[in-house]
Symmetry: C2
Subunit: 454 residues, 2 copies
């Protein structure tokens, strides 16, 4: 008689917040004072190897939604609303077919009303699925990128929800893309393990930094091997020009300079403001307007060429991405690991990008986004698009010390993770210390605030 499968026995959520607003790290035109946060989920199982005090064991799956502070409690509540769909599931079946749970969660007819497939409720679905993928990769003893790259095209297609996609991508077309993508994958896997995946860095370019700090960090980035940096723009026009000039002078002509407006502009303003910056040869203009405005992005792209248009980190689901691609609205697609419905929906999005031949340059930074999204880009390189040309993963040097398997950057490249899992596990002591509002850090800060003179 075969042993019964272990089951999901615990569904544990945490409201974790880091006080980044104090340093103006992460400041941009739309988000002046973020406190990088995670609505964090741990799935526990009764499999051998479960160690309640450990965070990386094969018997746990970790996932989260990245937020920027207030409302992280709402995001935790949304994850909690999915508890009943997950507790008690047999782990073997769950890890063999995360897509089945993805459909169950998408089809909860009552919860669906709160989206559908967008916002807080949809990101909660993503956190649960990402935790399942972390568990599946750990049990397979592979980093997630390798689990995906080794999987059969047929199985990968079974993990995708093609609803609302078939006018742009059918299951058969996806299968053909994946079959083509597998050819010579051993060679690319070896290259990935040797060189890593290209990165670009946003660390020099936060809006709250002085010109001196910007120039110094930009020079350091080039010295460290980065071939692209990114600058936040979109507040004062004169500042944009001065900062772009400062950055371009610091990095020289051979390094790409991307600029990011974080949704600050209407369409006409986006066109005018981007044209003013054209003298500094920006590689792309990112989020020039509302992330919902597919037609607006298409109009901007037509007007600002040859400057590329990049967006996608706030594209709330595969239907928006489908339209961005169909409308010819973007040159660069920026996927995000925790905005959509987990690995399953990001597979759909990577397939759409491959179908339309648009390069994917993932959004990262925040807390834990680099750790997660590198796996998706590396899978794409090894077994789908087959190239890193004009592709790079965003890198920000924030908060990695809180993760058990933090990203490693070498000469401007992400080193391929080799530890099993999705690199999602945050250190237990970091979770405890930064739990809001009662963790040690926040309790001490509140006490200090109360003692301070008014």
């Amino acid at each position: 008689m075969p042993a019964a499968s272990p089951r999901i026995t615990g569904f544990e959520t945490h409201d974790v917040r880091f006080p980044t607003s104090g340093q103006l790290d992460g400041s941009d035109a739309m988000n002046p004072d973020p406190d990088y946060s995670a609505a964090y989920l741990i799935l526990r199982t009764d499999a051998d190897g479960d160690a309640p005090e450990g965070a990386g064991g094969a018997a746990e799956g970790h996932g989260f939604v990245f937020t920027i502070g207030r409302g992280n409690d709402v995001q935790v509540a949304a994850i909690e609303a999915l508890r009943h769909h997950v507790l008690g599931l047999p782990v073997d079946d769950l890890c063999a077919d995360p897509g089945k749970l993805a459909r169950t969660l998408a089809d909860d007819s009552q919860l669906r009303w709160l989206g559908p497939e967008k916002g807080v409720m949809h990101m909660a679905v993503g956190a649960v699925l990402n935790a399942v993928w972390d568990l599946a990769a750990k049990r397979a003893r592979k980093p997630l990128w390798k689990l995906l790259a080794d999987a059969s095209p047929e199985w990968l297609v079974s993990q995708v929800d093609f609803r609302y996609l078939t006018d742009a991508l059918t299951p058969d077309e996806a299968l053909a893309l994946l079959r083509r993508g597998r050819r010579d994958r051993e060679r690319r896997e070896a290259a990935l393990l040797e060189r890593g995946y290209p990165a670009y860095t946003t660390s020099p370019g936060w809006l709250g930094y002085s010109d001196e700090k910007l120039a110094r960090l930009a020079r350091e980035a080039v010295a460290e091997g980065f071939t692209q940096i990114k600058l936040k723009v979109g507040a004062d026009p004169a500042d944009d020009v001065r900062r772009c000039r400062t950055a371009r002078a610091a990095i020289g002509d051979g390094v790409r300079l991307a600029v990011d407006a974080n949704q600050r502009w209407d369409v006409a303003e986006a066109v005018a403001r981007t044209r003013v910056l054209a003298e500094f040869d920006p590689y792309w203009i990112e989020e020039p307007t509302s992330p919902d405005d597919v037609l607006g992005h298409a109009a901007i792209r037509a007007a600002v060429a040859p400057v590329r248009v990049a967006t996608g980190e706030h594209a709330h689901n595969r239907v928006v991405v489908k339209q961005l691609l169909r409308a010819g609205a973007i040159d660069v697609l920026q996927i995000d690991a925790t905005r959509v419905g987990g690995v399953n929906e990001n597979l759909a999005i990577l397939l759409l990008a491959a179908r339309f031949g648009v390069p994917v340059c993932p959004h990262a930074g925040g807390v834990g986004l680099c750790e997660l999204v590198q796996h998706l880009a590396m899978f794409d390189y090894v077994a789908l698009s087959g190239t890193t040309e004009d592709r790079a993963i965003e890198y920000v040097d924030h908060l990695h010390e809180h993760f058990l398997d933090p990203v490693v950057i070498r000469r401007g490249h992400y080193a391929a993770p080799t530890a099993p899992g999705f690199s999602a596990a945050m250190r237990r002591e970091s979770i405890a210390r930064h739990t809001f509002p009662h963790g040690e850090y926040w309790a001490a800060r509140r006490a200090a605030d109360e003692e301070a003179p008014a």
Copy 2:
């Protein structure tokens, strides 16, 4: 010395759920078992006339988000996350300029990440603003539609957030539309008070009803004076044909028959399934595919004409509506009172519809949606579009008994509300009895479930 303004002194939320799933009322192809619910907010003030036991006094503002059951607690948590923006505000200033609070809520840089402007967090903003508008109308001693219709075009324009709209609608264009809309408004106001606003009914057409019940209710609707009914479709194709035939036979050729697929189809399937139903002369096909798929709706519309395409109840903000209109994707726009950012964003949406000359037929039903949305349609008639031609507000005969100022239907028309406010106030005893999970109804049901044999 002038008396100080009263202030917002209370921010009280309730998780209210009605057990509608037991009757298959409200069942459709995507939502088979809804429990109509409200994430409910009461703003209290210290103005004279505040009566904690009453629900309709001039000193309280009521608002809510309609949901269909599970997750109503998440929606309540999202409303609670806005508490700190509202408590303590001076009521006079707040009611003189709800748009100022609208901008404060939209600009909360940390909460914004959870949308932006979509899903649970955005609907929470809508509930807060709608409660403020209820309070403002009560203090003005006018029903909301009349408050809006009497307001100056300049003030109405000041209530709209034009961000992301100016490529389709500028403040000056909005002002011109409102000035044109005011001409002869006394005549239309008199007509509205005499005849009411046209309604159509969805009560006969729920997917879970038998053919006999469908035919009987359809005949009754025509006898009651409705000139349009709506049928849910989108599950089994043969059922759709049979039900359309049944309905058409029951109502005859002179009554409009709309069909509603509730997002069930991909683009090609929507075209094929709608064409099959064309023999029954459907007036519109509603929500044929994903509410996010602007380009998909445009493709469907081009393929199924002369059948009209209607959508909008799940359009999550003004940017989506702008695109639906710009892309020529719809013939009929279906606004919803609690999906977007309150009256302020619905003003933007009504202005967009007027700009593009597309008729607005509001979505209603659920719990309280009829009560709210009638005010928006009536304002549009009296002081913006100036017509009810090809326009009707959805009507469903559910749960009105729980409201202090329920809608009144006469000869297929909504009678214009005359009581001050937004008709949002639910009876205190209804809230208490249906509070989930500890109100009297749910406690009794749980006790009964526990006693029932397994």
